[in-house]
Amino acid sequence: MAIYIDENTRVLVQGITGNQGSFHTAQMIAYGTRVVGGVSPGKGGQVVEGVPVYDTVFAAMEAEPADAGILFTPAPYARDAAFEAIAAGLKLIALIPEHISLHDTMEICAYARRKGVVVVGPNTFGLVSSGRCKIGFMPNRYFVPGPVGVISRSGTLCYEIVGNLTNHGLGTSTVVGLGGDRVTGLNFIDVLQEFAGDPDTGAVVLVGEIGGSAEEEAARYIAASMNKPVVAYVAGKSAPPGKRMGHAGAIIERDRGTFAGKIGALREAGVKVAELPSQIPALLKAVL
C-alpha cells in the first residue's frame, strides 16, 4: 500500500512544453511514473517526451483520464491552471511554482477543499512513492523503496536528508514536500495521519524550519495520536529573525515559531530531534 500515489497513478503535466516541464517529464518517466498527458494552451497536438499535449485539461481528460497533476506553469498563471485541474476532476495536484501569491494560494486551497482535491505545495519539489511514482522534480536516484516516510517543508534539505538515508541503506516509503510558502495545501498533520495508516511506513522523518507554527501543531498531533516513531530536524537555529506579520503574527503565533519553541514542542511529544541532518540515519536506526 502507498499513500496518495502509487504505480497506477496516471499523471498529467500542466506546462509540459516549457523547459522545466519537458525536462522533468522525461525524468518522471525515467523514474517509472505513468505520465499520460500534458497540457499547454495553444500547443495541443504536439508530443513532448512521447507524451501527447492537449490545449486544456478537459481535453486531456477526455482523451485519457488522469488521477494526479503536476503544474510547471509560471506563478501568475498557476491559480488558473490549478482551478482547471480541480474543475476537470484531478484528485491530487502538485504545485511546483515558487512565488504564487498568497491570495491565489488561499483561493486554490479553498476550491480544492470544496472538491476534495489534495494540494501538494505550492513551492514544493512534489512527492514520490519510492519505486512506484514520482510527481515532482527531485533527483531520481535517492528515492529507493524502504520503511521511512519523510515530510519536509524544504526541498533541497529534504534531498540532502533522503540522500543520507540512502547512503546508510535506508529507503523511503513516501516522501512529501509540503512546500515552502506560508500557506500550503498539505501540512505535517495531514501527512502524518496518512503515514499512521500506511503499513509500508515504519518511521517518519519530519523536516521543519523556523517560522510559522506547523511544527508545533505537528508535535501536538504526534503527542496525541501518532502510532509510529518520528525523527525531526529543524533548520534555522542560527537564522536571523524573519519578517513578522506585525502584532497580528505575534498574536497568532504567541510563543510559537521560534527554533527553541519548535524543538521543545517536538521533544516533549517524544520526537527524536537531530542537531545535524547527518545524524538522522542513526536516530532512525535506533527506532526502526
Partner: protein, 385 residues
C-alpha cells in the same frame, strides 16, 4: 512589502475608513507650518521599524514651535538602524477607547483571518487570547455582515461600535483582498467623538503579487547589496561573519548556516540561489559574494531542479573572467552531479560529496585565511573525499 504609515493611511482612506487630518513633511519648518494649520499635533517618524514610540520616534506638540523642535529632533534619529526622511504631522485625536483590528493570512486555516479586540493600544501582545477575537474568513464567501455582527458580539462591542464596524470592516476586507495584502493592522483603532479613526496603519503587500499592482509604490527595506541580489532573483541577507555561503533552497541554506555555527565558523550571509538557477544566475551570485571580501566561500548544492553542471560552469566562468582569490569549499550532489564534478575537477577544484565535510573544510579555510595563510584557495584545491 511593508508600506509606510502615511501610505497605509491613504489606502485606508480610499476604502472609506476615517484617518486623522495630517500632512507628510520633510523639514522642521514644514512641520511647524502643518502644526499651525492642524492645532495640537503628533509628529511621527515614517520608518518601517517597530516600537517607534518607545524609541523616541513619535512626539506630541502643542504649538508650531514645539512641532518644529520635535521634528528636528526626530529627523536626526536613526530608528533600529533605519534612516528616514519623512514625518507625518497629524492632529492629536481625542481618544475615548483604543481598539485593535487586523487582517492577516493564517497558515493553519489557509485563509484570511480577522483579529479584533476592545483592548487595543501599545500592549496588545500582552492581552490574553480570550480578549482577542480570532475569525477565519471563508474566502469563497468573503466577509459578510453576519460575520461582523458575530465578531462584535464576541468582542463585547456596544451596539454603536458594532454599527460602525459593520461599515468599516467590510471596507478593510476589500482593501486586504483587492491589494493582495499579507497584513492590514490598525492599532490603535481610536474611538473618537467623530467615530472610529485609524490612528496607525501597518499594511504589508505580498511581494509575489506586486506584479498586479503597478499603481502601488515600491518600497525597499534592504541594503544595497540585498537590493542588487533581489534584482537578480536571489534571496540574500547580510549576516556579517567570515564565510560566504551559497546554497540552493531556503531550508538547506539555513541548515548550512546552522552547520557553519556548529563547526565553529560564522557565516557572512544567507544566499539562496533558489530552485533551477542556471549558469548566469549562479555566476552573478558568486560575483556578488566575492565583492563582500569573505575569508572563504562555501558552495553547497544539492541539485534537484538546479543542475550541478550549471553550477560548475558558473564557477569556471567567474574564475576565468574575474579570478577567484579566496579559498572555496564546494559540495555538489544530485542532478547532473557527475558532470558538475568533472567540470570542477578539470578546473582544478576538488568537490565534496558530504555537506558536513564541505562545511568543516570551509571553516578550516576561513580560519587559515584569517591567520594569514593562503593555503586552500581555489587555485590549490583542498583534499576532498
Amino acid at each position: 512589502m511593508k508600506l509606510y504609515e502615511y501610505m497605509g493611511k491613504k489606502l485606508l482612506h480610499r476604502y472609506d475608513l476615517q484617518i486623522p487630518r495630517g500632512k507628510v513633511v520633510e523639514t522642521p519648518a514644514q512641520a511647524a507650518e502643518a502644526a499651525a494649520e492642524l492645532g495640537e499635533v503628533v509628529v511621527k517618524s515614517q520608518v518601517l521599524a517597530g516600537k517607534r514610540g518607545k524609541s523616541g520616534g513619535i512626539a506630541f506638540a502643542a504649538t508650531p514651535g514645539e512641532a518644529r523642535r520635535e521634528a528636528a529632533r526626530i529627523l536626526a534619529l536613526k530608528l533600529q538602524g533605519q534612516a528616514f526622511d519623512k514625518l507625518l504631522v497629524e492632529e492629536k485625536l481625542t481618544i475615548e477607547q483604543e481598539l485593535y483590528l487586523a487582517l492577516t493570512v493564517d497558515g493553519l486555516s489557509r485563509c484570511p483571518v480577522i483579529l479584533a479586540s476592545l483592548d487595543g493600544g501599545m500592549d496588545i501582545e500582552d492581552v490574553p487570547a480570550e480578549r482577542i477575537v480570532f475569525w477565519p474568513v471563508d474566502i469563497n464567501l468573503g466577509l459578510q455582515p453576519f460575520m461582523v455582527r458575530e465578531i462584535c458580539r464576541r468582542m463585547g462591542a456596544s451596539f454603536e461600535l458594532a454599527r460602525q464596524l459593520l461599515v468599516l470592516l467590510p471596507g478593510l476586507y476589500r482593501l486586504f483582498r483587492d491589494l493582495d495584502a499579507e497584513l492590514v493592522e490598525i492599532n490603535p483603532l481610536a474611538l473618537t467623538p467623530r467615530g472610529l479613526v485609524a490612528a496607525d496603519a501597518k499594511i504589508t503587500i505580498d511581494d509575489d503579487a506586486l506584479y498586479r499592482h503597478p499603481q502601488l509604490p515600491r518600497i525597499h527595506e534592504k541594503t544595497d547589496l540585498e537590493l542588487k541580489a533581489g534584482e537578480m532573483g536571489l534571496a540574500y541577507v547580510e549576516l556579517g561573519g567570515e564565510i560566504a555561503v551559497i546554497a540552493n533552497g531556503a531550508g538547506i541554506t539555513m541548515a548550512t548556516l546552522d552547520m557553519v555555527h556548529h563547526y565553529g565558523g560564522t557565516p557572512a550571509n544567507f544566499l539562496d540561489i533558489g530552485g533551477g538557477a542556471g549558469v548566469e544566475r549562479t555566476a552573478q551570485a558568486l560575483e556578488l559574494l566575492l565583492e563582500t571580501k569573505p575569508k572563504a566561500v562555501l558552495i553547497n548544492i544539492f541539485g534537484g531542479i538546479t543542475r550541478c553542471d550549471d553550477v560548475a560552469k558558473a564557477f569556471v566562468r567567474v574564475k576565468e573572467n574575474k579570478g577567484i582569490d579566496v579559498p572555496v569549499a564546494v559540495r555538489l550532489g544530485g542532478t547532473n552531479e557527475t558532470e558538475g564534478r568533472a567540470i570542477l575537477k578539470k578546473a582544478g577544484l576538488e568537490v565534496f560529496l558530504s555537506m558536513d565535510e564541505a562545511v568543516r573544510q570551509a571553516v578550516g579555510l576561513a580560519r587559515e585565511r584569517a591567520n594569514g595563510s593562503t593555503v586552500g584557495s581555489a587555485e590549490t584545491a583542498p583534499q576532498g573525499e
